[in-house]
């Protein structure tokens, strides 16, 4: 659904244990989009799928988990070796 105009300075981070290719300067949300991943979490209320919506840190639909903390993937620079996980739902 998304593609990169240029593929340079690539490196790898992981999302739920899977390798994701990212380019320098990309946020985690952007890199996931470029890898065809748009759905990042499920809502607590109805378990519906959600993904990044605003890309500017306002909607909180892009939440992921890093180091046990819930963070906005659209505000988080991708970095080599970063381990990103899907945010845990309440019932898990």
């Amino acid at each position: 659904m998304f593609k990169r105009l240029h593929d340079d300075n690539t490196f790898v981070f992981t999302f739920d244990g899977t390798d994701i290719q990212a380019c320098k300067g990309e946020t985690v949300a952007a890199a996931l989009f470029a890898n065809g991943i748009a759905a990042l979490r499920k809502t607590h209320t109805s378990s519906s799928q959600r993904g990044p919506f605003c890309m500017m840190g306002a909607c909180y639909d892009c939440l992921v988990e890093v180091d046990g903390k819930t963070v906005q993937s659209c505000m988080l620079p991708a970095q080599p070796g970063l381990q990103v996980n899907r945010a845990k739902a309440q019932d898990e």
């Binding site: 659904m1 998304f2 593609k3 990169r4 105009l5 240029h6 380019c23 300067g25 990309e26 946020t27 952007a30 890199a31 989009f33 470029a34 748009a38 759905a39 990042l40 809502t43 209320t45 109805s46 519906s48 799928q49 959600r50 993904g51 990044p52 919506f53 605003c54 890309m55 500017m56 840190g57 306002a58 909607c59 909180y60 639909d61 939440l63 903390k69 819930t70 505000m75 620079p77």
Partner: protein
């Protein structure tokens, strides 16, 4: 706890914040500029300082223009804290922020809030599905990462919708369709506001529309009853056009319905706000120098009133001049002299803004979402729920929180506040001013308990 008073702390490094910082520092004030982004530029000049000319080239000269401000800022004495999220400002002008997971406080003599705009919420059925995002979000992907959607549908209205369409076309993207909700009623209303001279920005706008036509991008004007289809993610969009249902397939739908001031901080300070009927949103009430209902809190740029990047830049300068005079860094005569040019520029551009506001006013259906439409994305509260609360006697947005958690999620109402106000106004037959808006509480952006706890002395 709080460090020594800085003369002026500016929140937001867009055109308004940058120009305010440059002006304030050049007259001897100590200035700290705080912004969430890794580089200066704000929404419009986002990613510009990354220095990727291949992308800047695609984005056009209005974008590249920002380089001037960014470079100027870098040459000042302004302390610019990047990747810094402000999550509380109190009435004594003490600002609390987090940077690198560390919370900190800074006290100012005067705070200038220049936090810009948010895209207006455009709730339609299916707008929460993955694959649906705002047009601005797609633009951010392009600006900061050179990532573009494949065969997207752009839907809604507003200058930014055409800007993004044109920028994507320029980047070689094939756009599946532009579904425009603008109506001929808007054209009539706008005609009355037509600027006497045709300023440059209007011509640029027209060139965007021409580009959409020239590339033979399917273009549907006057669309209503928009609805996104798909079960677990978006697979298309359906709408009424010229009496027929049109159904298009795409897994990337970009919505836009104009922008509105980001009033989270001004609301959390309980400043006065008022409804602006032409822009159909709340504005914090400010005087000609950007002063809010609290003396030490000023608001500049799109966060005060939607005017666009150039107005925001001038408004930033004017707000800084007002603050400098109040801090006795300059005399009132100097202030007035220096403000003359930016004021005149704003005056000129305001005409164009009114024209655009009328032309791209959101369509009626935007404020009247169907009962099954989710309004509060965080807590998944629908328009029907809110109407039911109104029937139970819910008169205001703060009651919708108690009735159904509406607005109580992490986005703190950024993407539902306005719609809730509109629905309650319609249901209870009240004006938007009478209904009011959510009371915003700190933190205006979530922060970990350990960060908050670190401020305990």
């Amino acid at each position: 706890m709080a460090t020594d008073d800085t003369d002026i702390v500016i929140i937001g490094g867009g055109p308004a914040g940058m120009s305010a910082a440059i002006c304030a520092a050049s007259h001897g004030a100590t200035v700290t500029l705080l912004d969430e982004q890794p580089t200066a530029g704000g929404q419009i000049y986002r990613g510009l300082s990354n220095g990727d000319n291949r992308i800047a080239g695609l984005l056009g000269k209005d974008y590249q223009y920002g380089k001037k401000l960014i470079d100027q800022l870098a040459r000042t004495t302004v302390q610019h804290l990047t990747n810094t999220t402000v999550w509380s400002v109190d009435e004594n002008a003490v600002i609390t922020y987090s940077k690198d997971h560390q919370a900190n406080r800074i006290a100012a003599k005067i705070v200038i809030i220049a936090t810009g705009a948010l895209e207006r919420p455009y709730p339609i059925p299916g707008w929460t599905l993955p694959g649906v995002m705002t047009a601005g979000a797609a633009q951010i992907l392009l600006k900061t990462s050179g990532i573009v959607p494949e065969q997207p549908v752009l839907a809604g209205t507003g200058p930014l919708l055409y800007t993004v369409a044109s920028q994507l076309l320029g980047a070689g993207v094939k756009i599946a369709a532009v579904v425009d909700t603008v109506t001929s009623k808007n054209h009539l209303r706008a005609a009355k506001q037509f600027p006497i001279t045709t300023p440059g920005p209007l011509l640029t706008g027209l060139s965007y529309l021409k580009k959409i036509k020239r590339t033979q991008t399917p273009y549907y004007k006057g669309a209503t009853q928009l609805k996104i289809t798909g079960d677990r993610s978006a697979n298309g969009i359906e709408f009424q056009h010229k009496g027929k249902v049109v159904s298009l397939r795409s897994n990337c739908i970009l919505l836009h319905q104009g922008v509105i001031p980001n009033t989270q901080l001004s609301r959390s300070l309980r400043l006065e706000h008022h409804w602006h009927s032409l822009q159909q949103c709340f504005h914090p009430s400010i005087d000609q120098w950007g002063k809010s209902s609290l003396d030490n809190i000023r608001i500049a740029g799109d966060g005060a009133k939607i005017g666009g990047a150039i107005i925001a830049e001038h408004h930033g300068t004017i707000t800084a001049l007002g603050a400098l005079a109040d801090l006795e860094k300059i005399t009132e005569q100097t202030r007035d002299k220096l403000a003359a040019l930016p004021l005149a520029a704003i005056h000129r551009l305001d005409r164009l803004r009114h024209f655009l506001d009328a032309l791209y006013a959101p369509p009626v259906h935007y404020a009247e979402p169907t009962d099954d439409t989710i309004i509060c994305r965080c807590e998944e509260v629908t328009a029907g729920d809110i109407r039911r609360y109104a029937k139970l006697g819910c008169v205001g947005p703060n009651q919708t929180k108690s009735f159904g958690r509406c607005g109580m999620g992490p986005c703190q109402g950024r993407y539902c506040s306005l719609t809730v106000t509109e629905i309650l106004a319609a249901e209870n037959k009240l004006s938007q001013d009478e209904v009011g808006a959510y009371r915003i509480r700190s933190p205006v952006k979530p922060v970990t308990l350990e960060e908050l706890a670190s401020l305990h002395d």
